[in-house]
């Protein structure tokens, strides 16, 4: 009996060469998919069939509201010296919550270091995200519990991991047809889009038809360098060069992000291959707490994006459709509690000593590790003998 094989990627060169004509999937003529305007008005979209129902909007708003409070508290903790560094995500709540809430349990996300909203939506405990920034671990959670991988700090490397993981999903599916169909999400930004690993990830994903969705949050600034330095074309257009669809979505519109991501994941899970989503958004805060955006961008630009705030438009919509003050008041109380709990957790975090680092450098016993650990223990023990407190 012949071994079952993975299907080859379907490739229609003529179709792919025409970057603006992609008839096999819906696309808004504006070039950017939007479902909820900054004023809170619903707008039509070919992706409407994938959008959340109106009654799901409060839950999406809650996710965004709480992660913004989490982000704010984390920034404060860094300013007070409790975190070594913080990577703010203010402004990117819709891109992160919308995409995360499009994933199914069996899907798997590979983040950069800014995907706090995705992490919490996937079930990572908020305090666990701060362990890395507190300096007690370089990880912080078990990715197998949440299907949310550890943060990757050398950007773009995670895109290849996502494609490889997706290739594993393909093989699992082939071996066990009853497994739920799954896909990966590769998160990256406009800055990392210039890294070679993003290119290689897209080549591999296309060649092997991997069920991977590339989710690029174009937040306009790679620290101090604007997107124009990374790309001369809209980033979504790059997908066509690899032979798969690229879609630009209003990254501050949680409904549109979720709908487009649902479509892309659904397509990938069912053998349609990769998709690139460019979530057009804005980093409203600094790159990290070590950054000073006043040195490279204008206040006017920041103000312009305040009017496109991802939370404001949902609040407009909720109020317009009858959501009362109680909802917003309760949410504020919940967020205050979240911040207090977060602070308490951070202040009580203990670093597991150097012994733990020796214990985890290798999975199997290693003579040099054992030798150096013993030498270090002997050195440390010397302080005890001499009565020094350490």
């Amino acid at each position: 009996m012949a071994t079952p094989r993975l299907p080859a990627a379907e490739f229609d060169a003529e179709e792919q060469l025409d970057a603006h004509h992609l008839p096999e999937f819906p696309r808004d003529p504006s070039g950017m998919v939007q479902m909820l305007t900054p004023e809170g008005e619903l707008s039509g979209s070919d992706f409407r069939g994938y959008a959340a129902a109106e009654e799901e909007l409060p839950a999406l708003y809650r996710d965004m509201y709480l992660i913004r409070r989490f982000d704010q508290e984390s920034t404060a903790l860094q300013r007070q010296g409790e975190l070594a560094l913080w990577v703010p995500m203010r402004g990117q709540e819709a891109a992160q919550i919308g995409s995360a809430r499009a994933m199914l349990a069996q899907d798997y996300a590979f983040p950069t270091y800014r995907e706090h909203g995705v992490a919490v939506a996937r079930g990572v405990a908020p305090a666990d995200l701060l362990k890395l920034f507190r300096g007690v671990t370089n990880g912080g959670w078990n990715p197998k519990d949440s299907n949310f991988h550890l943060y990757t700090l050398v950007l773009a490397a995670q895109c290849l991991h996502a494609v490889g993981y997706a290739m594993g999903m393909q093989r699992d599916q082939l071996a066990e047809q009853s497994l739920p169909k799954a896909a990966t999400m590769a998160y990256f930004g406009d800055g990392a889009s210039s890294e070679g690993d993003v290119h290689e990830a897209m080549v591999f994903a296309a060649s092997f038809n991997a069920p991977a969705v590339f989710f690029c949050q174009n937040n306009h600034w790679a620290i101090s360098v604007p997107t124009e330095v990374q790309s001369r074309v809209p980033l979504a257009h790059r997908a066509h060069g690899y032979g798969f669809p690229g879609i630009r979505v209003d990254g501050n519109d949680v409904l549109a992000v979720q709908a487009v991501t649902r479509w892309a994941l659904d397509r990938a899970r069912n053998g349609g291959g990769p998709v690139l989503i460019e979530a057009f958004t804005y980093r409203m805060s600094a790159h990290t707490t070590a950054d000073d955006p006043t040195k490279y961008r204008l206040a006017a630009e920041e103000e312009q994006w305040v009017s496109r705030d991802p939370l404001t438009r949902v609040e407009h919509r909720l109020r317009a459709t009858g959501t009362g003050d109680d909802f917003f008041r309760q949410l504020e109380e919940e967020s205050v509690q979240l911040a207090a709990d977060l602070r308490a957790s951070v202040l009580s975090m203990e670093a597991p000593g150097l012994e733990h680092r020796f214990a985890t450098a290798y999975a199997e016993a290693h003579p040099l590790i054992q030798e150096e650990l013993q030498a270090w223990r002997d050195y440390e023990a010397g302080f005890d003998v001499e009565g020094g407190a350490r």
Partner: protein, 324 residues
């Protein structure tokens, strides 16, 4: 006992690994229908199919990066880097990602990726095809590095690498691919991370690995004709290094010569010299001496014979060591 070349032994070892481990798969450039540029994977695609012997796009970072993803999903990828000098596009994935996944996850995740790299010179090739970059990887904690020097080890070490929970780089001595030797396929193999004393002696010890092991043995034979008894150790593992076996030998002989093709500066020989000096200082009759490449980019094909440590250079250094 079967007699086969090192290349064939690796091929058979890979075949055994693919048969034994359903999650094992090969990835690399031209490893499918062509069987690899050195034919090490010959016939494996025909036997196991294109989903387990995967011809990848020409992108080394892509090979290692996707292998990491596959490993996280539970697979055991065995990657081929076509030549030593082509590993550098993957250097970031190997050193910042692969090596650190276990410790980054506080031991929750493993990344059992195997990377095969044909290495070393003496094949008269063009730039980037003859290098010995092992020290660059040995400096990174989280990686294991082994290198067979004979067919028996080649057959077993690749299989042992596949079962290791840590990432393992297997440096294959490409100029010895056609060196024949006996392979005991029913043996209980020794640990790949242990050195092996190939020849016992009392006056000096030569430590070598990979392609220089046969040269070290030839040097010991030549020295014997001059009345010197030289012990030869095949290091086999570059990370970790089996310092116990080397120390035991040096405590006996009092003299140590380390030979490798890689430049001596910042190399494995320096590490061995330092550790053995710490462990056996009072037994040393001579400074630990290194024979290796010069602090030069690997030279051209028509000059490499003057760069590579050969029998004469090893004997010359041996004379120096024995003269103390």
């Amino acid at each position: 006992m079967a007699v086969m070349t090192i290349a064939k032994a690796i091929n058979e070892g890979l075949r055994a690994a693919l048969n034994t481990h359903p999650t094992a798969l090969l990835m690399g450039e031209d490893i499918g229908d062509l069987g690899g540029v050195y034919r090490v994977t010959e016939g494996l695609k025909a036997q196991f199919g294109p989903d387990r012997v995967v011809d990848t796009p020409l992108a080394e970072s892509g090979i290692i990066g996707t292998a990491i993803g596959l490993a996280l999903r539970g697979y055991r990828p065995i990657c081929e880097i076509q030549f030593d000098g082509f590993v550098f596009p993957a250097f970031n994935q190997i050193t910042t990602q692969l090596a650190k996944i276990h410790t980054r996850s506080d031991g929750l995740l493993t990344a059992p990726v195997v990377i095969r790299i044909p290495y070393g010179g003496g094949i008269g090739s063009v730039e980037h095809h003859s290098e010995s970059p092992e020290a660059l990887f040995a400096h990174t904690a989280g990686l294991r590095i082994i290198t067979p020097s004979n067919a028996h080890d080649a057959y077993w070490m690749i299989q042992q690498a596949v079962t290791c929970a840590d990432p393992v780089i297997v440096f294959e001595p490409k100029r010895r691919y056609w060196l024949k030797g006996e392979v005991d396929v029913s043996a209980v193999p020794s640990s790949p991370f242990q050195a092996e004393v190939l020849r016992e002696g009392t006056d000096a010890t030569i430590v070598a690995y990979g392609p220089l092991v046969p040269v070290a043995l030839a040097a010991a034979n030549a020295a014997a004709e001059d009345g010197s008894s030289v012990e030869v150790i095949d290091l086999r593992s570059i990370s970790p290094i089996d310092f116990d076996t080397v120390t035991t030998s040096v405590l006996k002989t009092g003299r140590l010569l380390v030979a490798h093709e890689a430049p001596t500066f910042g190399g494995i020989g320096g590490e061995i010299a330092a550790r053995i000096t710490e462990r056996a200082f009072l037994s040393l009759e001579a400074p630990v001496t290194r024979v290796g490449g010069f602090h030069l980019p690997y030279p051209t094909a028509r000059t490499e014979e003057h760069y590579l440590p050969d029998l004469d250079r090893i004997l010359h250094s041996l004379d120096t060591v024995l003269a103390y």
